[in-house]
């Protein structure tokens, strides 16, 4: 005899999941994993975290880059029991099989499998730890796409991207702040990847000292400019070898396999061949865009 209560449909799921079963193919079922999917340079990463507070921090930090689409890679994060701060900034990248790596720093350990689109890590309970891990991971994720992260600031004006790079103190943040109505790619790290016959710049949430996230915007690159100081011509084209040398010095690179290193060299050489690299000596008394008009 049927009872008065309607029976709940199970929809093909197991009535009682096995203890410790994995609902996302990577994480133990002993704690809920709170997912957030972000996209940087057309790579969507689903970040699943077993810590609600850190998950909220991640969602807030990367709020401009949130996506609702299937991820290219799932990163499962487990927060370590101890909250010890980073002891040093030394990152080790140990290549294993093709496209797989062990990433380590004092505040994270991560197994990254780029071809299979999955990664798992233990991390300190810190948004800065997650941010650092993502920066390292993205250098390896973007490499096969002929992509790099450049330690640089960048702006998009009239549908074209302008990237400013140079050593610390060269004026990257200052230059980015003078963009007026231009959109900010980043004041710290701009993503660049091949797009058809040329290269495209993408905003990133990776912020500099002032903690300002870039915008979720991308554009074909109009110019790559190494910042310098007067005297000297305001804008001068770098020789190919000088340009490659300067690009290699601002690429975020933490190591990897010999193939990765080869890919990095190839990408920088290809990037230089596709996009003019200039030395830019800004005059503070003149508007930024007036000084860049020679780029067209």
């Amino acid at each position: 005899m049927p009872s008065g209560n309607p029976r709940r449909r199970i929809d093909g799921r197991r009535l009682i999941p096995a203890l410790g079963s994995r609902d996302d193919g990577s994480a133990s079922g002993t704690a809920p994993l709170l997912p957030t999917t972000i996209e940087i340079a057309r790579v969507a990463v689903r970040i699943a975290i077993d810590d609600a507070a850190l998950a909220r921090d991640v969602a807030a930090r990367y709020s401009r880059f949130l996506r609702a689409r299937d991820p290219d890679l799932t990163l499962s994060l487990r927060v370590r029991a101890s909250d010890s701060p980073p002891q040093d900034d030394v990152v080790t990248v140990e290549p294993r099989d093709a496209g797989t790596y062990r990433l380590a720093r004092s505040d994270f350990d991560c197994d990254l499998d780029v071809p299979r689109g999955r990664a798992s890590a233990t991390v300190a309970r810190s948004i800065y730890t997650v941010d650092s891990l993502l920066r390292v991971a993205f250098t390896l994720i973007l490499a096969p796409q002929q992509g790099v992260l450049l330690h640089s600031s960048g702006l998009v004006q009239d549908g074209r991207a302008y990237i400013f790079y140079g050593p610390s103190g060269a004026g990257k943040t200052t230059t980015a702040s003078r963009g007026g109505s231009a959109r900010l790619l980043s004041d710290e790290v701009v993503a660049v990847r091949r797009d058809g016959g040329s290269y495209r710049a993408f905003g990133t949430p990776f912020a500099g000292d002032f903690g300002v996230s870039g915008e979720d915007v991308s554009a074909p690159i109009a110019g790559l400019m190494r910042l310098g100081r007067p005297p000297g011509p305001a804008l001068s084209r770098q020789s190919p070898s000088a340009a490659v040398r300067s690009l290699l010095r601002c690429v975020l690179y933490f190591g990897g396999s010999e193939q990765d290193a080869d890919l990095l060299l190839s990408t920088c050489i290809d990037l230089e061949a596709a996009i003019p690299c200039h030395d830019l000596r800004l005059r503070l008394e003149r508007p930024l865009w007036e000084q860049l008009h020679e780029l067209g």
Binding site: V93, L248, A261, I269
Partner: protein, 103 residues
């Protein structure tokens, strides 16, 4: 340094030449090395495990306007630097057949 040994560039680095400069990336150290001259680039090209230091010295003297004694001193210093940084090794030239494609 045995001048009959062959210079073999490391297979654990990636290198590209642009003009007279050679860029070397050593992933184990995540370090960029730069060979900033045409002579250094030429030595790197000859460091294929099949050319002895003596042969490399002869090639440099043949291709560049340099006194043999100066070339020998500079070559010795440069090779020491490559060895110290792990970018190359000295191997017995008798190992040639074992080396296969030195890349």
């Amino acid at each position: 340094m045995n001048w009959d040994d062959c210079l073999q560039r490391s297979k654990r680095v990636a290198a590209r030449s642009i003009g007279d400069e050679t860029f070397i990336v050593a992933p184990s150290e995540s370090t960029l090395h730069l060979l900033p001259s045409d002579v250094a680039t030429r030595i790197w090209q000859l460091a294929d495990g099949r050319h002895s230091l003596r042969q490399i010295h002869a090639a440099i003297c043949d291709e560049f306007a340099v006194e043999p004694s100066v070339a020998q001193a500079d070559l010795s210093e440069f090779v020491s630097s490559l060895l110290e940084k792990g970018l190359a090794t000295l191997v017995s030239c008798d190992r040639e057949e074992e080396l296969g494609d030195a890349g």
